[in-house]
């Protein structure tokens, strides 16, 4: 019966890979797996006795408002002390993630402010003050995100009478980022397992991965809509 197999398949290929290759897919895969893991992690991790999400959300919004309106140094100083104390209670990996997010936002706003600081040096203090506020605001939001489950956040938003369509869109977005992220991760894994040589068409293969992800995203959104219609959705977002 083994005659069904082609002759080349019955033996083993002496194969020695040449040059370097496959590293781009491996690196992308690791980065993607980390990002999806963090997203899932943020959805699930809370302390043993967490503060109610509504309370935290109101505090956060009030804090952001006070911080953005503040004109005296004392206010950002107070918030800096508070936030630094709070992030000390986070596990190491979360602490790093919160700090990196805040520093990235601060660096970006500093770059945006640079022309103003160079052209009008007298505004330098105000510009740096603004960068500091951005750093603190992003740190606070990131801290809230890392210590509150996503379903608790949407529950709190509902109690604050935020429109259902917004909450629904946020929910679906987060869910499908994770879903499509997993799909990309699987496709890259399949690519990695079969990319056993020097891929002269790496760009085309990775383009294929993105194309399939786009098609799958479209299909998933259509299926979600159809599932909603089957459960009585009538294009009226007010009832959500």
């Amino acid at each position: 019966m083994s005659d069904r197999l082609p002759a080349w398949m019955k033996g083993s290929d002496p194969y020695e890979p040449k040059g370097r290759g496959g590293t781009f897919a491996a690196r992308t895969l690791r980065a993607l797996a980390g990002a999806i893991g963090r997203l899932r992690f943020q959805q699930g991790r809370e302390g043993r006795r967490p503060l109610p999400a509504l309370f935290k959300l109101v505090l956060l919004l009030a804090g952001l408002l006070v911080l953005s309106l503040a004109r005296k140094l004392m206010v950002p100083l107070f918030f800096t002390a508070l936030v630094l104390v709070l992030i000390c209670f986070l596990p190491g990996r979360d602490l790093l993630s919160v700090l990196v997010t805040g520093l990235f936002a601060a660096a970006l706003s500093l770059v945006l402010m640079l022309p103003a600081m160079i052209l009008a040096p007298e505004t330098a203090f105000n510009c740096l003050f603004l960068v500091w506020k951005v750093f603190l605001s992003v740190l606070m939001v990131s801290l809230f995100n890392h210590t509150t489950q996503w379903n608790h956040i949407t529950g709190a938003l509902k109690r604050l009478h935020v429109p259902g369509i917004l909450i629904f869109t946020l929910d679906l977005t987060l869910k499908y980022i994770v879903l499509l992220g997993r799909l990309v991760s699987d496709l890259l894994t399949a690519y990695l397992l079969r990319a056993v040589g020097k891929d002269r068409q790496a760009c085309s293969s990775l383009g294929g991965v993105l194309g399939v992800t786009f098609l799958r995203g479209t299909e998933v959104s259509r299926e979600t809509y159809e599932a909603m219609v089957c459960r009585g959705f009538t294009d009226d977002y007010g009832g959500l």
């Binding site: 197999l5 194969y15 040449k18 079969r194």
Partner: protein, 218 residues
Amino acid sequence: MPLIELDRVTYTYPEGDRPVLRDLSLSLEGGGCLILRGDNGSGKTTLFRVLNGLAFPEKGTYRFDGETIDRAYLSDSRRARAFHKRIGYLFQNPDTMLFNGRVFDEAAFGPRQMGLPEEEVRARTEDCLKLFGIADLSDKAPYHLSGGQKKRVALAAVLTLNPDVLILDEPLAGLDKKGRDLLTDFLVSWREAGKTLIAATHEESLADLLAGRVLTLT
């Protein structure tokens, strides 16, 4: 010397709180056949990820053909590619394996990677497409095929690499009768040719037909 050897392997997912695999030991000679059984979530797919070098045991060792497969070993891209060439892995969901625009290019991807001459690439690809009765689909886009056709294309794409070990995760799931017959015949031929096979399946008939060792994960 066994081709595949796991020695007291334990693996826990980063977000998990208990091990999916705990102190698992097994050895399989070249040309052997191992059938994996177990409920959903018992760790079959995780074991396949370990065997493919996609996940690394937190405790214990995994040796393939005498080499310990760990992060350090696979960090050398040349060794990693030689290792991946020797193991063919069919995912449970073939949808996530197909990323080329045409069925032919999907199946030809592996041999082209190996740098084989184009005539040999064509011959291997056509052989594999014929083997699974999908030669007429060679110009079609894999994305638009049915689930069963996708599975056959994915298997053809894995086989054109001519791996020494074939790892199949639920190979018969989602196949119609014709597809099941083709695949079952192929697996019997693969066994008769003395090549190594590891498969997770709930199908008693397939397990009996292949007459391999059965490992039940709990």
